[in-house]
């Protein structure tokens, strides 16, 4: 058994999760994977620390919240710091929003690292006892040697999306995909860019200037809530989410105006009426001289895989090479993916735009042949989503078990 204290942030305060069925949330534990399900049922001893009893045996604490609150909690919980110093405890940190702030930067890289570094160093906590486990993938593990904590990659969006796929989308997507062989699709691309960011603004300008919007179904800045004044940049297509996603997507959180972010939803109709997905990542701009190059994985790539669509990824360089490292396949030579290796932001953007232009210049008939040429890749990725989820959880379970030794 692994003794675990699970602390979750709610209304600005951490509370202690005491029941195993409450462990299933948007942090590390997602439904649909037997390995993590069996592990939670049979090998986790969930500890209650709010009754006044502090753990006697070595334990793992999971802190699920936002960066400042997590740091504040560790700093103020003296028994925890003591146990960390004495190697009786290890803390696994999850940033529940997935790590990207409104400006498109990760909390990990730009905001909290100096503070958490100080906390660890001042208290002489062993590096191995603080594990920052978030959806940022450090491209080179050598970078970690200077960190005062362990940085682990946790592909939470992949797991969440596959969990949703298993519950809501499988096997329907495969069936719709196969039926689709009888028909061509009316549009070249589909693009959802709900939150305004610089590279998305550039993209819509590019599509408009080159008269390419007619080739796609596109939604831009539907989450801007009036922040974008120019109507041209509001909703092209329409805001497609209707109402009440929580009934279908239990993790969906409402915006301040009561609407819902389309993070967990997939507009299946739009996907299957177009051939490829233009994915705009949360982050595009990358400092090519950065000491800590990383890739942030959000939900978008996995959504395209669920609906069996090829994609162009308008985001951080090397994302595709990482996706391949996870056992997925990308679309070379059907799509010129040389953009993925281009660190210079402007050059990368131009390579991507050239490829969009090339694909949109194809006739629908040619596009259809092009699309079905990728059938094996698309089906492989669809199936790989679940396989990968299991593998990822095997590693996570191993990590939790290692802590008791």
């Amino acid at each position: 058994m692994v003794d675990i204290v699970y602390m979750k942030l709610n209304d600005g305060k951490f509370f202690n999760v005491k029941k195993l069925n409450e462990i299933w949330d948007d942090s590390y534990f997602m439904g649909g994977f037997d390995n993590i399900g069996d592990f939670v049922s049979n090998e986790i001893n969930l500890l209650d620390i709010e009754s006044g009893q502090w753990p006697i045996n070595p334990f793992v604490m999971i802190l699920n919240g936002n960066g400042p609150k997590i740091i504040e909690y560790i700093s103020t919980e003296k028994r925890l710091i003591s146990d960390l110093q004495n190697n009786k405890c290890r803390v696994i940190i999850n940033i529940n929003e997935g790590g990207v702030n409104d400006d498109g930067y990760t909390y990990y890289e730009f905001e909290h690292k100096p503070i958490i570094n100080d906390l660890i160093q001042e208290n002489k906590i062993s590096k191995d006892n603080i594990i920052w486990m978030t959806p940022e993938y450090l491209i080179d593990n050598e970078q970690q040697k200077d960190f005062p904590f362990v940085k682990k990659f946790f592909n939470k969006w992949e797991l969440q999306l596959d969990s949703i796929k298993q519950e809501y989308y499988h096997p329907y997507m495969l069936d719709i995909f196969k039926n689709g062989r009888n028909f061509s699709r009316p549009k070249h691309f589909y693009c959802v860019s709900s939150s305004p960011r610089g590279h998305r603004l550039d993209l819509i300008n590019f599509l408009t200037d080159n008269d390419l919007l007619k080739c796609g179904n596109a939604t831009f800045f539907s989450n801007a809530h009036g922040e974008i004044e120019n109507e041209e940049f509001q909703v092209l297509g329409s805001k497609d989410l209707k109402f009440d996603p929580p009934n279908s997507w239990p993790w969906a959180q409402p915006n301040f105006d009561g609407s819902y972010l389309p993070t967990y939803s997939i507009n299946v109709v739009q996907c299957f009426n177009s051939y490829f997905h233009l994915l705009t990542g949360s982050i595009f701009e990358t400092d090519e001289n950065s000491k800590f190059p990383y890739i942030f994985f959000n939900e978008k790539i996995w959504k395209a895989m669920i609906t069996l669509q090829p994609f162009i990824f308008i985001g951080q360089p090397n994302t595709l090479s990482m996706v391949k490292r996870f056992g997925f396949k990308t679309f070379h030579p059907f799509i010129d993916e040389s953009y993925d290796g281009e660190l210079n932001n402007e050059k990368r953007k131009l390579l991507i735009y050239d490829e969009i232009k090339r694909l949109c210049s194809m006739s629908i008939d040619d596009m259809d042949k092009w699309f079905w040429g990728m059938e094996d890749i698309l089906v492989h990725n669809y199936n790989r989503l679940t396989e990968y989820g299991y593998e990822h959880y095997d590693e996570f379970i191993k990590l939790l078990k290692e802590n008791i030794n």
Partner: protein, 341 residues
């Protein structure tokens, strides 16, 4: 006793070449009959087909069924009507099965029954895709659709030209998923392609669910638009049955009294929300104007309003979806009684 099927002057032993009514034919084949029966499957476009010559060489004790597989033009019908009357005069035991509904009667001295054109194929697709239709239907509760209307116009026909002209002249193209002349791919920009491939085999019975669920109302341009007060007739085929299967409300660009006929067959229409007075208008131009006006009115609805309208019609859509199977069952039952009687 045995049933013999003829198609294009030949006896056929299987139904591989037949595109509709196949399941019914198989049921008829398996009937235990007290006397033999010859069924002539007639496709009006087969010019060399001469069933009457074959029949006249036959023994009059046989039951003869003339089974029309497609809509008949007035001229074709009148020609066959004369020949059928001759057969009856010669005391052949003839029955006629025809997909056209002649609303003032058939003026034939024999029994006439209506069959359906491709409703069975659509029902089959509906059953095969049952889970996916349910999925799209459920999905539709969460997401808005992109277009107001869907309209397929594979072959060029005058009423289709009129519809497209109206759509283009009134700037309504963006409100539609619409095809035109799409059975004939060409590079001269004379086609609007929606979902037909130029290179692969297409059957009109397949349901393109993502496309059907991208819009709210089907504007169905039927095979025929011509019908007159003195010879009123209605022909219904798969275009309409697909809308039932995919739970879509519709406007009919076709023969007058089509909605009236549908209601007689147990289907329901949308007069509470859509002005369906076009259905009683015999004059083609007036009828088209009424339909165009209704398209114009609905096109001014926001997507949210279209969505609300759609869900108000849901009970009728569900009814029509299940009525498709009932309609086929009822039709089959009546036809099978010819043999049991």
């Amino acid at each position: 006793m045995k049933v013999t099927f003829y198609f294009n002057n030949k006896i056929i032993n299987d139904f591989n070449e037949i595109w509709t009514n196949r399941l019914l034919f198989e049921k008829i084949e398996n009937l235990k009959l007290t006397s033999s029966c010859d069924i002539f499957l007639i496709r009006p476009s087969y010019e060399n087909d001469s069933p009457f010559e074959i029949i006249k060489s036959m023994d009059k004790t046989k039951k003869i069924i003339l089974w029309y597989m497609d809509t008949l033009s007035k001229e074709f019908y009148e020609l066959h009507q004369t020949k059928i009357k001759e057969l009856c005069k010669l005391e052949y035991d003839v029955s006629v099965i025809i997909p056209d509904f002649h609303l003032s009667g058939y003026d034939l001295p024999c029994e006439v029954f209506n069959n359906y054109s491709m409703a069975d194929c659509i029902l089959e697709q509906q059953q095969v895709n049952r889970k996916l239709i349910k999925y799209f239907d459920k999905n539709s509760e969460k997401l808005y659709r992109q277009k107001h209307f869907l309209s397929f116009n594979g072959n060029i026909k005058p009423h289709r030209v009129d519809l497209l002209t109206y759509v283009l002249e009134n700037g309504l193209l963006l409100k539609f998923d619409i095809s035109f002349n799409s059975h004939f791919w060409n590079q001269a920009g004379q086609s609007l392609h929606l979902d037909l491939k130029s290179t692969s085999w297409y059957t009109s019975t397949n349901l393109n669910l993502p496309l059907y669920y991208n819009s709210y109302i089907d504007v169905i341009t039927m095979a025929n638009s011509h019908s007159t007060e003195d010879f009123p007739r209605v022909y219904i085929d798969e275009k309409l049955y697909k809308s039932f299967a995919c739970m879509k409300p519709f406007l009919i660009v076709g023969q007058y009294r089509t909605l009236e006929t549908l209601k007689k067959l147990g289907f329901k229409t949308f007069s509470e929300w859509i002005d369906e007075s076009y259905d009683t208008e015999v004059d083609y131009d007036v009828r088209m104007t009424k339909i165009h006006n209704e398209i114009k009115r609905l096109s001014e609805f926001s997507i949210k309003e279209m969505d609300e309208l759609y869900f108000k019609m849901k009970t009728i859509l569900l009814h029509n979806s299940s009525q498709l199977g009932i309609h086929i069952h009822n039709t089959d039952k009546k036809i099978l009684e010819i043999f049991n009687g």
